[in-house]
């Protein structure tokens, strides 16, 4: 049985993968498809999307209309279980809890982690994004370039299924032919945004999301992904044929029983399990990597949440993909003899250079969209179109006052009414009630368009995590303390976002809802709130200033690999998940190669 307990776990594996999200899922998939025996350890519980996903449930079937609570931070129907900004019994600390520089840490304690609820937005980093220091003298270059990842982006897109289009835009790479699925049709509001933004010189193009707008080609793709490996091809072909295309309904954040979007639990893990090479142990809180006398990692220690006991399991290779901050925590808490500051930390950079995505938003009410006829606008659940960063030249010439770009996600339409649909309309209705209020709600329903900026944060010395010397979680594991600070680049960027959104809303003939903040500190979302935290084990060309090398391998321990966002040396405006997967695939290929060479 591939889901194992501590008792029926093997004593030793080829590879241990810590974490079951995008990085862990991709690593386990790549290795198992090539015959490697893998144990995946997941801190949360087993989760079965086919049985647990509320696909067509409506808000009246949920407590409080499904609105967010401290138990379910993104609402009742969000796929996340046992997670959120706070996890009971597993605290973290903030050096300045009341400061605008505060950092909040989202975790999910479930198989598949955050991939079950994520936004599915899947953008490639471009060539500039790997060499930011070379370009503007800020932050760090990666030791790899876009060309090193291009083929892996192609492979990930073909495996998980990503819709989008090739537009030939600056620093916004095209995929190879045959990789992308066709983008979904735009909504009325999308057409309007595109038309009016264009008048401002702002490009609007199809978005990229890991949603199957048509079935994946299970006859063509497996041979491209696994040349010379008929077993892998057969397993993948069969699994792909069982994934349905999107039915244009029910929010992706709930997860998908049809497997029509990417979650590790519906895309990576089923074929990996079908190889017979993967064991999964859930409820395993990994807290340390152990070293053998040869200086190599020989396994991990974990607390079994079912028995409460401390356990150890061995392997030839250890991959950490527990999420950027959790991976840093494991490294810092691993203190074999001779490593008082934590494992793989001779540079002192473990936990350093944490980054999130810069977020700012604004919404507007658009008279042209009022009282439209009935429309089914569930579509692909948003992001039919988006705005890639477009001011590269102005920025590079120093005209913007901030060094890095952002993209714009936006959405409108007649989404399923919920407890917020008719809330806070007084600014439009003048406080109507009675029959007039019902008319007003009909009039304004579907006439809002919201804009979210997603921008690059430059790594800095003041944003990091460390292990607190005294506080422990309920498992006895020392907890993280976060430090956080934005630079003026991020704050100015956030203010620029809001000004741009207001310009677009006005160009649409709309009215801005709320205030447009000129002060970036008021425009910017708190650190961590976009849930794109990366860094903490950054890759570099120099072991003195980085934790991992160009293969995601720690400089200090050559069979210890970091396969989550921890290795990011910069955090481009592009959402990190696709890059995490591309890097994890590449890192696993490297492991396979080194195993063949008997180096591991």
């Amino acid at each position: 049985m591939p889901f194992v307990t501590t008792r029926d776990m093997k004593r030793s594996y080829d590879v241990i993968v810590v974490g079951s999200g995008a990085g862990g899922g991709q690593s386990a998939y790549t290795l198992c498809m090539d015959g490697v025996k893998v144990l995946m350890l997941e801190a949360g519980r087993r989760y079965t999307p086919a049985a647990e996903t509320p696909m067509f449930q409506t808000p009246d079937q949920a407590p409080l209309g499904g609105e967010a609570t401290p138990d379910k931070n993104f609402g009742w129907f969000d796929a996340t279980v046992d997670g959120g900004w706070e996890v009971p019994g597993e605290p973290y600390l903030r050096a300045a809890a009341d400061d605008p520089g505060t950092f909040k840490w989202w975790r999910a304690r479930m198989l598949g982690g955050r991939t079950n609820h994520w936004g599915r937005i899947s953008l490639r980093n471009g060539p500039y994004d790997f060499k930011p220091f070379t370009r503007d003298g800020l932050g760090f270059d990666w030791p790899i370039g876009y060309d090193d990842l291009h083929s892996y982006y192609d492979k990930v897109e073909m495996l998980v299924g990503v819709y989008g289009s090739n537009e030939g835009l600056e620093n916004t790479p095209d995929s190879s032919p045959g990789c992308l699925l066709p983008p979904p049709a735009p909504l009325v509001s999308d057409h309007l945004v595109r038309q009016r933004a264009k008048r401002l010189g702002i490009p609007v193009v199809p978005g990229h999301r890991a949603v199957l707008t048509q079935p994946l080609d299970h006859r063509r793709i497996p041979a491209l992904l696994h040349p010379g490996n008929p077993t892998a091809q057969r397993i993948l072909a069969r699994d792909m044929s069982e994934r349905a295309a999107c039915v244009w309904a029910t929010p992706c954040g709930r997860g998908c029983t049809l497997r029509a979007n990417y979650q590790s639990t519906t895309v990576h893990l089923p074929p990996a399990l079908a190889t017979g090479n993967l064991d999964i142990k859930t409820d395993a809180m990994v807290y340390e990597v152990t070293l053998g006398s040869n200086g190599r990692a020989n396994g991990v220690g974990f607390v079994d949440r079912v028995t409460g006991r401390h356990e150890h399991v061995s392997a030839r290779v250890v991959i950490l993909a527990a999420s950027a901050a959790e991976t840093a925590r494991i490294l810092l808490n691993s203190r074999p003899a001779g490593f008082p500051d934590g494992l793989a930390n001779s540079s002192g950079k473990v936990g350093r250079y944490l980054m999130d995505t810069v977020g700012a938003d604004l919404s507007g009410q658009i008279p042209l969209l009022e009282s439209l006829p009935p429309l089914n606008e569930d579509a692909a659940d948003g992001h039919q179109l988006y705005v890639p960063w477009w001011l590269y030249k102005e920025q590079h010439a120093g005209k913007l006052g901030f060094a890095r770009g952002y993209h714009i996600e936006f959405g409108g339409g007649k989404r399923m009414p919920d407890a917020g649909t008719a809330a806070g309309l007084e600014w439009l209705t003048g406080g109507s009630y009675g029959a007039k209020f019902k008319e007003d709600v009909r009039r304004y329903y579907g006439s809002f368009v919201g804009f979210d900026g997603r921008g690059e944060m430059i790594p800095n010395e003041h944003s990091y995590c460390e292990v607190d010397p005294s506080v422990r979680d309920k498992w006895g594991i020392p907890v993280l303390r976060f430090h956080w600070k934005w630079s003026d680049h991020e704050l100015r960027q956030a203010a620029h976002m809001q000004r741009t959104f207001a310009d677009i809303i006005e160009a649409m003939g709309g009215r801005v809802q709320g205030k447009v903040h000129e002060d970036g500190a008021r425009a910017i979302a708190p650190g961590g709130s976009i849930i794109h935290e990366v860094g903490g084990a950054i890759m570099g060309a120099d072991p003195k200033t980085s934790v991992t090398d160009r293969w995601n391998q720690t400089w200090d321990v050559d069979n210890l690999i970091v396969a989550d966002g921890g290795v990011f040396a910069s955090n481009a405006d592009k959402n990190p998940t696709l890059t995490i997967m591309a890097l994890a695939w590449r890192a696993s290929d490297r492991i396979l190669e080194r195993m063949r060479r008997r180096e591991l």
Partner: protein, 204 residues
């Protein structure tokens, strides 16, 4: 709209309410647990399932009257109280979570004021007033920017109550039908809006 944004909007509606007097409205639900971090999402739930409803019978009657003043029956849909909005609001103000606990004294103080104001004017409870008399009271508090200073708190109550009543109403099948929502059904294809509509809006 992504989930993050729509949640923020709902919060924003609540955040517009500064703390009102919390006196006289003890949080009956304090200490009750919520539904936890791992609830079963696939089965329908009902108000009272996770924490007890706490409004009195008299408060529930007044909630029904006011909710129906805000959302009366019309040609499109029934009145709020006919589709469970009283239970929704009772569930809301009885919930053990901070946002709902913050709403509770606002709602209860507002309901208490409505009856007091009705008695002051006409010597009877709000529910017993003629419709015109009820509207006369509501008109003074229906829009905070126009409310006189001594009635600002009451205006904030009315805004919050309207949001909750509408929240409960538009969540229901009747509310979705009222808004002509036709989604949440599996489609074989999604082709986008009718080009004729786009042309009429000048978008193609």
């Amino acid at each position: 709209m992504d989930r993050r944004t729509s949640i923020k909007w709902m919060f924003a509606a609540g955040a517009a309410l500064p703390a009102l007097s919390r006196g006289g409205a003890s949080a009956a639900a304090a200490g009750t647990a919520g539904y936890g971090t791992d609830p079963r999402m696939t089965e329908p739930t009902h108000p009272g399932e996770f924490w007890p409803l706490t409004l009195t019978a008299a408060q529930r009657r007044l909630v029904a009257v006011l909710a129906d003043i805000i959302i009366p029956a019309d040609d499109h849909s029934p009145a709020a109280s006919a589709v469970g909005v009283v239970d929704f609001i009772d569930e809301w103000v009885s919930a053990p979570y901070p946002d709902q606990q913050a709403d509770r004294p606002i709602i209860i103080a507002g309901l208490t004021w409505l009856d007091a104001e009705a008695r002051r004017r006409q010597g009877k409870d709000f529910a017993a007033l003629a419709a015109a008399e009820q509207h006369a009271i509501c008109d003074r508090i229906a829009y905070e920017p126009r409310a006189i200073e001594p009635l600002r708190d009451q205006a904030r109550f009315f805004a919050r109550f309207r949001d909750l009543a509408a929240g409960g109403f538009y969540c229901t099948p009747a509310g979705r039908k009222d808004l002509n929502y036709i989604g949440n059904v599996a489609l074989a294809r999604f082709e986008g809006p009718d080009p004729e509509l786009l042309r009429s809006l000048g978008l193609i």
